[in-house]
């Protein structure tokens, strides 16, 4: 075919250029906030992409602020515990759904699904009221509970999609090879399921780390206020003058760990995100 090679090269260039556009679009706001966080207070309004002088003053300010360190600690603890519990419960349920024959199988999938679509704003009022009466308002547990609930569907979904891919013949093989059910699980199934569990844990953690609505509705003080809420309420001294630099620095601080995790485990995360939707 005449011109076929040319055509192919043109096409490749087009797609290549497309990639660059996509990358720039994805990175620009991130780069901007990084740049803001490194500018001196005086330079914040200079509209330059690169800081004239790199300064860590905002970072220093952020870490001096007790509100922020408290929020960081709260976020880590609350997201961590929620992840642990949600993944554990999700694992039980996913194992049952994939491996066992029992009447509730469809019920749990349907329940998980409806909660995945459930609007959280619909229950913040009642939760606010209930939590106040039972003493969960403005506590870690008060956030952990809804986080577990709202991440369970994700966990169950990802885990059951992955568990379906595990060749369960191996379990039988181990049993025939002389293993007790427990040994078969420890030596054969657990090592194979670990990556799936890990993936689910990352995504669940990201959800809990990201939540804002529950965080501002069910907390009021440093006792349980998490990072997103803290950033949103970082109103400096007056309402009209926002501490842009501090917010930028705080944003970078809480974004960095997630970005690192995302970059290292991107393959797993993509697999986890698409597992439920594509494979049904």
């Amino acid at each position: 075919m005449a011109g076929g090679a040319d055509h192919g090269r043109m096409e490749r260039w087009c797609w290549g250029a497309g990639s660059v556009v996509v990358i720039v679009y994805a990175l620009i706001p991130v780069a901007w906030i990084l740049s803001l966080s490194l500018k001196r207070s005086a330079d914040l309004g200079d509209n330059r992409l690169f800081p004239q002088v790199v300064s860590l003053e905002h970072y220093a300010a952020v870490f001096r602020d007790p509100q922020f360190s408290a929020a960081l600690w709260n976020s880590l603890g609350i997201a961590g515990i929620s992840t642990l519990v949600a993944v554990l419960l999700g694992m039980f349920a996913a194992y049952a759904v994939v491996r066992l024959e029992f009447p509730g199988r469809r019920v749990i999938l349907a329940a998980a699904l409806s909660i995945a679509m459930f609007p959280p704003v619909s229950i913040i009022g009642p939760l606010f009221n209930i939590w106040r009466t039972v003493g969960l308002y403005d506590t870690w547990a008060g956030l952990i509970l809804p986080y577990i609930t709202f991440t369970l569907p994700l966990a169950i979904w990802i885990l059951s999609a992955f568990f379906r891919e595990i060749p369960w013949d191996l379990d039988k093989a181990a049993r025939v090879d002389g293993a007790t059910p427990l040994k078969a699980f420890v030596f054969v199934i657990a090592p194979l399921a670990a990556p799936a569990v890990f993936t689910a844990a990352i995504l669940v953690f990201m959800f809990a780390w990201n939540d804002f609505l529950f965080a501002i509705s069910l907390t009021s003080t440093n006792d349980a206020r998490t990072v997103p809420a803290a950033i949103a309420f970082f109103t400096g001294s007056s309402r009209f003058q926002q501490p842009t630099g501090s917010i930028a620095a705080a944003s970078v601080v809480v974004t960095l760990p997630i970005i690192i995790v995302v970059l290292i485990f991107q393959r797993r995360i993509v697999a986890g995100l698409t597992a439920g939707a594509v494979k049904g």
Partner: protein, 388 residues
């Protein structure tokens, strides 16, 4: 080494019976095949023997000892799975050592056994590889290796060759046969492939819909199939079937009638129901004397397959006059007066038959099995006298 005895073993799942009263004994050292189409219950039967499924009813005995309640780990049997079920996170060596470690053998003993198995199966070079890095045939061998290191009472193989390509399958087939000769361990082998069953088995059990239809040596099954299903299932190309009916000492077939000598008048039974005549492709001949025992009819070669050592000729027979008979549906015989049915003949490749050629085809009554169309029973077996 052991004898496996099944006493009226049944398996019921919710709403369905997977195995119906299986009752037979697998002898010590025997290579025993369970064969049948998918869903016939052969794998369920195997899983019950190894203990992966409960027995709903009946009893399984190994060397006279009841094992129904024993966990798989306590039965000391080794199994090869269709998927091989190799542990992906372990090397070949670890895969083979796994059952030995569970059995708490000493390390030198484990090394010795793994080395020996690897040598038998020519896996020495691959011991430190992961299963992922092996070819299909090598994975199959590792699965075999994991089975033999245990020196188990019996080998159970569940369609072990069905994931291999045709050539490897034949090669592994002989390898498994050789291994069995060498070790002499009782082996139960599940397959849906009648060729594998015929070539490997000392004895074969043919299953359909959870029922054992016939147990016998490959030769018995081929020459004396007890019913239509076994007749059609064993042999490749499959046995030819034609609708037939009885009429005063003759058997009427669509292409003509076969005379039966008086001394053998009851060979095909005496009932009046519709019949099915079955004959193997090699029993259709294209030359021979004009003997009274042979029905000759004209045919036109539609398709000719020349395979070097064999020549298959396919031709159609009009079912005129037989099109309205009540026949089992799974035979795929068309209904109606204009219907035709394809037969295949296996003839000497020396014949230069070409597509479109007209042939005279002969069928000897001694080669014809007659089945009752309703029950599928082979009437010839019980009634014939003086076979050949």
């Amino acid at each position: 080494m052991s004898e496996i005895e099944l006493r009226k073993v049944s398996k019921r799942f919710t709403g369905a019976t997977a195995v119906k009263r299986a009752n037979f004994t697998i002898r010590d050292g025997e290579f025993f095949i369970l064969v049948g189409p998918s869903g016939c219950g052969k794998s369920t039967l195997l899983n019950m023997i190894v203990g992966l499924e409960d027995v709903s009813e009946g009893e399984i005995r190994i060397d006279g000892q009841r094992v129904n309640e024993l966990d798989p780990k306590d039965r000391n049997m080794a199994m090869v799975f269709q998927s091989y079920a190799l542990y992906p996170h372990m090397s070949v060596r670890e895969n083979m050592a796994f059952p030995l470690k569970l059995a708490k053998l000493s390390n030198p003993e484990i090394d010795r056994r793994v080395a020996r198995a690897a040598q038998i199966l020519e896996l020495d070079e691959y011991l430190d590889r992961r299963p992922r890095a092996l070819s299909g045939g090598q994975r199959q061998r590792v699965a075999m290796g994991r089975a033999i290191v245990r020196e188990p009472r019996a080998f159970l193989l569940d369609e072990p060759l069905s994931n291999l390509d045709a050539k490897l399958r034949v090669q592994m087939r002989t390898e498994i046969a050789r291994l069995h000769n060498r070790l002499g361990t009782t082996t139960v082998y599940v397959t849906h492939d009648q060729t594998e069953a015929m070539t490997l088995g000392d004895r074969i059990a043919v299953l359909r819909k959870g029922e054992v239809l016939q147990i016998g040596t490959p030769r018995e099954l081929y020459e004396r199939p007890r019913n239509l299903f076994v007749a059609g299932f064993i042999g490749s190309p499959a046995m030819n079937f034609l609708p037939a009916r009885r009429a005063e000492g003759r058997l009427e077939l669509p292409p003509g009638a076969l005379e039966i000598p008086a001394y053998n008048a009851k060979r095909w039974g005496t009932g009046q129901g519709p019949l099915i005549a079955g004959f193997r492709p090699e029993h259709l001949r294209v030359i021979g004397e004009r003997d009274v025992s042979v029905l000759w009819f004209a045919a036109r070669a539609e398709v000719v397959e020349w395979l070097g050592a064999d020549l298959f000729v396919y031709f159609d027979v009009a079912l005129k006059g037989f099109g309205e008979m009540d026949l089992p549906e799974d035979l795929d015989i068309q209904r109606g007066d204009t219907a035709r049915h394809t037969l295949v003949a296996r003839i000497d490749p020396a014949h230069a038959v070409q597509e479109g050629d007209s042939l005279r085809v002969g069928l000897d009554w001694r080669d014809v099995h007659v089945f009752d169309a309703a029950s599928g029973q082979n009437l010839t077996l019980s009634n014939a006298v003086n076979e050949h």
